[in-house]
Symmetry: C2
Subunit: 455 residues, 2 copies
């Protein structure tokens, strides 16, 4: 039987297995789901064993377990490492889901459930692609599965595991399916991910909340001050005003920028979908470029003073903001963090005090299109989708990718099959059945494209 035929005949079985996994409430960020996260790791362990893998392990960490399994058929074969995650984002707010987040259902040819796309659905395609090959062809590549349970809460323990297990994780190729394609008519391969620096600013004015009548006008208000500081971080052209912020930003040639703008994009549709009248971003760059190849500065949260119903005339003691910057090659998260902190301290007026706390960060990623792995992926898309995949820049971040590069010295191939409409991290997350099955087929061809080649 041909591999494609096997996939076609096992559609229902594959889907039922995925549904089982989607029913497990493996929310890694919330301690009350700890047992469910554990259950999901057991599910992966069992499935890897069923695939006939060796050294299948549930590795305990300070947080949630890492699942590992491998099949080394011949040390001379190429080795493919599959990275993915079985944990999911919190499903809150539950009331905005049309169907319960952990009761997967099919509607309009899509699987609706938390994690259906990110990343249970996409990760599970790899297990099923391997199974499909195993049942239909002689496999002549080695495989390693590294499936973690903390991607949605910082991958802290995975970092340690990678640092301490470089030999075990030795590989020729790393493949990750945790990104999107442009649309089902336009396959694409992600070649850029942005890095991240995430900080929390605490601004203190007076030592206690004051009456805005008795003090207002004479004492600098920390909310007003924080607003002023934040406003000054970008000019009217959308250019970030932190000195040296752009020093290391990779510039793209005219030809490269032309290639980027080949991705189909309809500005009117983009604006209409999120109901805005105008986009805004760095002058002289297109929307695709602003998201893909330019750094950002966004306030992700702000609070201070009286925020309940009604009116309270308080001149507050403190104001807070969570601010993140998306970074692009060749910016370094630590360096940008330092520039930000120094700049905020410098612009804080003498009426106030500023304290800044660091949250997790991550480095930007740039994947070369000139590698064996990229070529194998592109060829797989050509064969299965009948089209040359476009290289695209995704604005998001997968911090572990840069660690794989720096510690294992291997580029990751970002071969995702999601769509923008999947609403990952939001209510009513979904994953198209077309994408699920087509993904399994594409991955099986990708594996085959890398096989048969002894070193």
């Amino acid at each position: 039987m041909k591999t494609k035929e096997y996939i076609s005949q096992n559609k229902e079985k594959f889907l039922n297995e995925l549904f089982e996994l989607l029913k497990i409430e493996s929310v890694s960020a919330d301690p009350k789901f700890k047992n469910e996260v554990d259950k999901a790791s057991d599910f992966i362990v069992a499935k890897l064993k069923l695939l006939g893998l060796d050294n299948v392990e549930k590795i305990k960490t300070k947080g949630h377990p890492i699942v590992y399994g491998e099949k080394i058929l011949n040390p001379n074969y190429k080795t493919i490492l599959v990275y993915g995650h079985y944990d999911v984002q919190p499903a809150d707010p539950y009331e905005l889901w049309d169907t319960p987040p952990f009761h997967p259902q099919i509607k309009n040819n899509k699987i609706y459930a938390r994690g259906s796309s990110d990343d249970k659905g996409q990760m599970y395609m790899h297990l099923k692609a391997y199974e499909s090959l195993k049942e239909t062809v002689r496999i002549d590549f080695n495989i390693k599965f590294l499936i973690e349970g903390e991607e949605e809460c910082g991958s802290d323990n995975l970092e340690n595991f990678v640092l301490n297990n470089k030999e075990k994780l030795k590989t020729d190729i790393i493949v990750i399916s945790d990104t999107s394609i442009i649309n089902n008519d336009t396959p694409s391969i992600t070649v850029g991910l942005r890095g991240l620096t995430y900080l929390e600013v605490e601004l203190t004015g007076p030592n206690r909340d004051l009456h805005s009548g008795t003090y207002g006008g004479a004492v600098d208000n920390p909310i007003n001050v924080l607003c002023k500081m934040i406003a000054s971080l970008k000019d009217d052209k959308g250019i970030i005003q932190i000195p040296n912020f752009y020093d290391d930003v990779k510039s793209f040639s005219k030809k490269e920028r032309e290639a980027i703008s080949k991705a189909p994009f309809n500005l009117l549709e983009f604006k209409n979908k999120i109901e805005i009248n105008d986009v805004f971003g760095e002058e002289d760059f297109s929307t695709i470029e602003r998201i893909g190849i330019r750094p950002t500065l966004d306030v992700n949260g702000i609070w201070g003073g009286y925020i309940n119903e009604g009116a309270k005339t308080v001149l507050p003691s403190k104001a807070f903001a969570k601010i993140s910057m998306r970074l692009v090659p060749n910016q370094k998260s630590k360096k940008i963090t330092k520039l930000f902190i120094n700049h905020m301290k410098k612009i804080c007026p003498t009426t106030s005090k500023v304290q800044i706390k660091e949250h997790h960060g991550g480095e930007p990623v740039n994947v070369s299109t000139d590698t064996v792995a990229y070529k194998a992926a592109a060829a797989a898309f050509r064969k299965v989708w009948g089209k040359e995949p476009l290289p695209t820049f995704d604005g998001g971040s997968i911090p572990i990718v840069s660690l794989f590069k720096s510690e294992l010295n291997v580029d990751s191939i970002l071969m995702g099959f999601g769509l923008d409409e999947d609403a990952i991290h939001s209510p009513n997350e979904s994953f198209g059945l077309y994408n699920f099955y087509k993904g399994i087929e594409t991955i099986s061809v990708f594996y085959r494209n890398l096989s048969g080649n002894v070193k």
Copy 2:
């Protein structure tokens, strides 16, 4: 017996009565205290009856009751109307109180309890001053008590009551004890109160929360936009940038400003007490002037995006701010509200939408020092405190005062006995025993100064 002697002999009785009132949890803003607010109104009704007043009524409103009582001894006598309130601010946060807010206690010669100063303690002095006169002299003035239960939540129903009962409330003098003196060595009479305009701004960017990776850099972030709008409302010299904002602001002559700056004020002490390194306010004005005779713009609250523990990379749909402006003569609350709304709409970029909701406002007040009432009050201070009281400008607002002026055509005399250290509206509110008893004495002299004078 002399009045002063009566006060001295009844110190304990007066205090016990006040303690009874302070034990009632009459928080008007919170519906769960409705019964307690009602209980406090009954307490006032009972005490007014005990004073032998006529037409004592508990007047029902859509909110909390108004208590009224009067003694018209002779239509030719001068009539004094006492306004005060028996409701209090919420006591939250309870954990910051050293002793429970509704279990009054004496420490360091101060009464500690919510409402001890604002306004139960100060209002109750008037009842005890009247009692002290009644027991010791022949009273030859008329009195009206108007004690409400909604001062801390906007006085909405009192406004209606005043509009509909102008004849009943007809008076020669209105006296209010709900303000402070400079300190116990420096008595003062408040001659200025600021008005207020309080608004809530809702800024909308995209129609839903977006992933800051997938959209960041290309979509204007409503928090960044709101910060920019707020920052632009004041320049670096502390001058409010809303066009025509200062048009009606009363300017003071050099001589008047010199008089204002006679109030004892120590800038270092002011800064140290609230632990700030520098004050900030409108250029070319002193701290006392910035609080007393100049308008302000303060953000009282701000919120938007992710404000819980940890990091979430959201580009939010909305951002909110509560913004208030303190107004000075001759600014008009409605006009300033309109200027603010128009300006915010004008500066809102095309990427976003702004909506503005009005909370309650109030007009600024300027009390003439050239009235019979002011002179009677000043004489009372001279007699009891041995010092000429200084006219002072209080930065706060008592919106009903301007209504009394416009509807009853009577100036209010603002004869308060509180101190800055009373911490009204804050945890550990207190009122000095010295101020309580000295206040009763001063008020009794003030009443006497206005008596004996047939029209």
